[in-house]
């Protein structure tokens, strides 16, 4: 159970550059729920995710995961609760380290790191098994530098890395936005499989209305730092992209000049 309690985030408060990125978001995620988050540029999607992950400290409000108030914790201190995949495939992996080394880093996530060897033979076996499901042949390239992989391959490994250790919520930050359509479809497919297999509670930020409705069990829409729309269950199944767009216009109370912002 994840609760975002009345979150407010203001960047550069009191200065000319003041920006209220999030203005009072209340959100509860049940265990196993897969929530997609949609909204225009600047609606606060990424800020919301970064607040959950600990990169952004809310000006007001609390982030509670499994009854534990994690608001004061730094990003690296809550990785046993929140696992994430970044938008940029380069951000989620270390280019000069090998595939095995990158996975070893993720494998030790949330555990105490000591002076034991980071990669034992038993680890290599586990890594190979996980990589084999991708059908990319990466299981035979454990000792290749990950920087030599394509963006899609790196993103696939990032996703595997994120779920190597248990967590309470998986945070996906437009993790297919930087990929070509075919690769994006592959990653989305993989995401769907993994989330279903492990019954993960997931928060996925996306730019695409198609994805927002096609994936997951619940969709929320942000507008100017607020949740303007929250739909799940039967009602959501009947929704089409067009309906979502209409709803957006109605809820926001104004026409967007450029629908492309939302449809891309």
């Amino acid at each position: 159970m994840i609760r975002l309690e009345n979150i407010h985030v203001t960047f550069n408060p009191g200065s000319a550059l003041e920006k209220k990125a999030i203005r009072g978001i209340k959100l509860g995620l049940k265990e196993g729920e897969f929530v997609t988050v949609i909204g225009a540029n600047g609606a606060g999607k990424s800020t919301l995710l970064n607040t959950l992950c600990g990169d952004v400290v809310p000006t007001k409000g609390k982030v509670v995961i499994d009854g534990k108030n994690v608001t004061p914790l730094q990003a690296y201190q809550r990785v046993d609760l929140v696992a994430r995949v970044f938008q940029d495939p380069r951000a989620g992996t270390c280019p000069n380290l090998t595939i095995a080394e990158n996975m070893a880093l993720a494998y030790a996530r949330g555990k105490r790191r000591g002076f034991k060897l980071a990669i034992e033979d038993s680890h290599r076996y586990i890594f190979k098994e996980h990589l084999a499901r991708l059908n990319l042949g990466l299981e035979n390239r454990l000792d290749d530098a990950i920087g030599g992989l394509s963006g899609g391959q790196r993103q696939a490994v990032s996703l595997i890395m994120a779920v190597l250790q248990p967590m309470k919520i998986l945070a996906l930050d437009e993790h297919t936005a930087a990929l070509d359509p075919k690769t994006a479809a592959f990653i989305l497919d993989l995401t769907q499989q993994i989330v279903e297999e492990q019954g993960l509670t997931t928060l996925m930020v996306t730019h695409s209305m198609q994805q927002a409705l096609g994936m997951g069990t619940r969709t929320i829409m942000l507008y100017e730092g607020k949740v303007i729309f929250d739909v799940s269950g039967e009602e959501r199944k009947k929704l089409k992209v067009k309906d979502l767009l209409d709803l957006f216009h109605k809820a926001a109370g104004q026409e967007l000049d450029d629908d492309k912002l939302l449809l891309e």
Partner: protein, 300 residues
């Protein structure tokens, strides 16, 4: 260059190989250009020398020097990560302070160690020539340190350190604390440099407060020359490159200073070093420009 000079260069090559590994740790692994070494090298020598002349066992004196260096590295890292001060600036602060601290440690600008017991003395007492003893002990110590650093970087903690230097956002997402590992890395790095300082004092027979000037650039020279030759892709090769680079650097310097037609003298050392590092750093850039130029001309 005669044989005597050659072995002298080799000995100093091993010694500064330790400095090179320390500089490589901060510069390449942590991406933290750390000038503290200009202060931690003489600090190692100072601590070791004052302990030895006070009658302390030379191994304990050497260990104390390492600890002193580690504290210096820790200070720089702490100033930098705790108060978010630019790494270069933080290290200059520590380096500056260390000059005074080293004077305080020694109580005078220099200490001679001639006739004192050093870690080399027991072997020399067996009748082995002192040149052979120093070079062998240094060689073994360098290998030991190389193994130790490699083992550390292969550990869970060491891997985390490599990640935090290369991509701190990713490292944080895997639960790695950049602060903690920067502090740890710089401590190890400066501990190695102080060890080199302690060995320098014992093999050369003195500690001097100004002996640290240019340590960072000598370390960098070794790292860059070694990398240019071995082009390392894995940690072991990178560490060997540090030592090889250090030896080659020493040999080059000895050659340059001995080439009478150049008319150089010992005080030109730092100028030659700076030129060498400058050329080594510019070479890759010039090479790629040349390739680019040829390609453009070919396309025209």
């Amino acid at each position: 260059m005669n044989l005597y000079q050659f072995f002298g260069a080799l000995e100093l090559g091993f010694l500064y190989g330790l400095v090179a590994m320390g500089v490589w740790l901060s510069f390449r692994i942590l991406d933290f250009p750390d000038l503290t070494v200009d202060g931690s090298f003489p600090m190692g020598a100072a601590i070791c020398a004052i302990f030895i002349v006070s009658g302390v066992d030379p191994w304990i004196a050497t260990a104390a020097a390492i600890i002193g260096g580690m504290i210096a590295g820790l200070t720089t890292a702490w100033i930098s990560v705790r108060f978010n001060i630019l790494h270069l600036l933080a290290s200059i602060l520590t380096m500056t302070a260390l000059y005074s601290i080293n004077l305080r440690i020694m109580g005078r600008p220099n200490i001679g160690l001639l006739g004192e017991d050093t870690i080399f003395t027991p072997l020399e007492n067996l009748g082995i020539p002192s040149g052979t003893v120093t070079i062998t002990v240094m060689f073994l110590l360098v290998l030991l340190v190389l193994y130790g650093v490699h083992r550390f970087l292969s550990s869970e903690m060491g891997l985390a350190m490599r990640a935090t230097g290369a991509n701190d956002k990713m490292a944080a997402a895997q639960g790695v604390s950049k602060k903690k590992l920067t502090i740890m890395g710089l401590s190890i790095s400066n501990g190695l440099v102080a060890l080199a300082g302690a060995l320098f004092a014992q093999s050369q027979g003195f500690a001097d407060v100004t002996m640290g000037v240019g340590t960072i650039i000598i370390g960098l020279a070794a790292v860059i020359v070694g990398e240019a030759i071995l082009n390392p892709r894995i940690i072991v090769t990178a560490l060997f490159a540090c030592i090889l680079g250090s030896i080659l650097y020493r040999l080059t310097i000895t050659l340059a200073l001995n080439a009478t037609f150049l008319g150089l003298q010992a005080s030109d050392l730092n100028l030659i070093t700076a030129l060498l590092v400058g050329i080594a750093m510019m070479t890759p850039r010039l090479r790629s420009k040349l390739v680019d130029f040829k390609a453009r001309r070919g396309a025209a």
